[in-house]
Symmetry: none
Subunit: 239 residues, 2 copies
Amino acid sequence: MVTQKHLEKILERLEQAETLDGLQTASVTLRDTLDVGHIAYHWVDSAGDQYGCGTYSIAWQERYLDKNYLRIDPVVIGCYQRFHPVDWKRLDWSSKAARAFLSESIEYGLGNQGYSVPIRGPNGQFALFSVNHSCSDEAWADFTELHRRDLILIAHYFNEKALEFEPERTPEQSQALSPREVDALTLLAIGYSRAQVANTLAISEHTLRVYIESARFKLGALNTTHAVARALSRGLIVV
Amino acid sequence: MVTQKHLEKILERLEQAETLDGLQTASVTLRDTLDVGHIAYHWVDSAGDQYGCGTYSIAWQERYLDKNYLRIDPVVIGCYQRFHPVDWKRLDWSSKAARAFLSESIEYGLGNQGYSVPIRGPNGQFALFSVNHSCSDEAWADFTELHRRDLILIAHYFNEKALEFEPERTPEQSQALSPREVDALTLLAIGYSRAQVANTLAISEHTLRVYIESARFKLGALNTTHAVARALSRGLIVV
DNA sequence: CCTGCCCTCGCTATTTCTGGGGAGTTGATA
DNA sequence: TATCAACTCCCCAGAAATAGCGAGGGCAGG
């Protein structure tokens, strides 16, 4: 049983971690505090880069990366589509690949029970915080029921730290767009053609072109699609 | 001061909400329990649809929608780029539009302090949970420091409910893209022309076109720019 | 007062994208 | 084994976007 005090201690420890190694040792402590088989944090972006951290054996981690299990892991696939934390039993294990993956994971020391919290950050960043254990269904249901909130918080703090250590998220302060440029790019981003945008904004198509061009210039973009993509990923427009 | 018991009660109440109206009344209770000026939940999806819920005045909500303040609200823009909860003071209020927005919001009854938790769901769903109050900087710093964890949890539960009531994001709407489609859209998003993309991927331009078309179809996009924008905001590609 | 930025409009020519067809190979899944 | 999804290639005509040259009025800050 994890008390409020335990939780505070765990979160503080996570907050104080200063390196990825620190997160690694914190996760061992976390596993012992929660008294479960394994805990794991798994970070992935749409470019396919991964970072893992937790108490799984090195052999399993290597196997996972080597075989590119990311693509077939029902935990990853299932969590990617939902917001809610989920018990592994409720995921789709019907495919042959999934069942093979499951039995292999058990060979590598994973337990029969699992619970994962999906977390998302800016720019398509996606991470999973998972707890893994070996016990009966009833005991596991009790555990997850009891610790659901704690796990959400821990997942959040874990991800916060992982993001902090990842220099990927370069803010890249860019020049602000004028209101009309924002209008133009926004409408283009929702699929309007130039003629439609011009019509919507009640300006000539040529004027619109000037906006798009100046936005392209400000954003250092090579074409309209590029400009829209940059404006989106820099948060200058919201679609 | 909100005790652990208060928090549990709030979360339970949120869990038990069965309609959007239920969330609305829960948010009033929540505001009173936290003893702040306002609380607000603001949901946005990649199609540009919005849903708001909270204790802001109807007049302000209408004004916000009417003027499309979503596009200039520094809270939305700032939170869209980060994972961490953030104090409104730390956002970028330098633009003229932002300052006008701020003073107008105060006219409509908002306080001078604010704190927002960004939350993300599948398919580019993005939401904000905000607390707003009128007090000194020191008092606010104490409040946010003390309640940071609670606010994260409350935000999470709020979003969970809001997603539950919004059947918009059905799994079928989130067609996954094939690897080649991801390649194509990614390269387009960084400004390559079709000829360049085809060359980079070492395929014919016609083949590339097939990918773009099928990606457009899967994403329900009207043209290439739209497809790239949707893929970006749903986190299917990263630039 | 001038400089710079924002907003507005016009023309022509070229390049690029889109939409309509069709066809064959893999590989995994059922 | 059959089916489906993904991947690859081809033609053509019309629609749309880009590049190049212009122009002028308004509004703010140095």
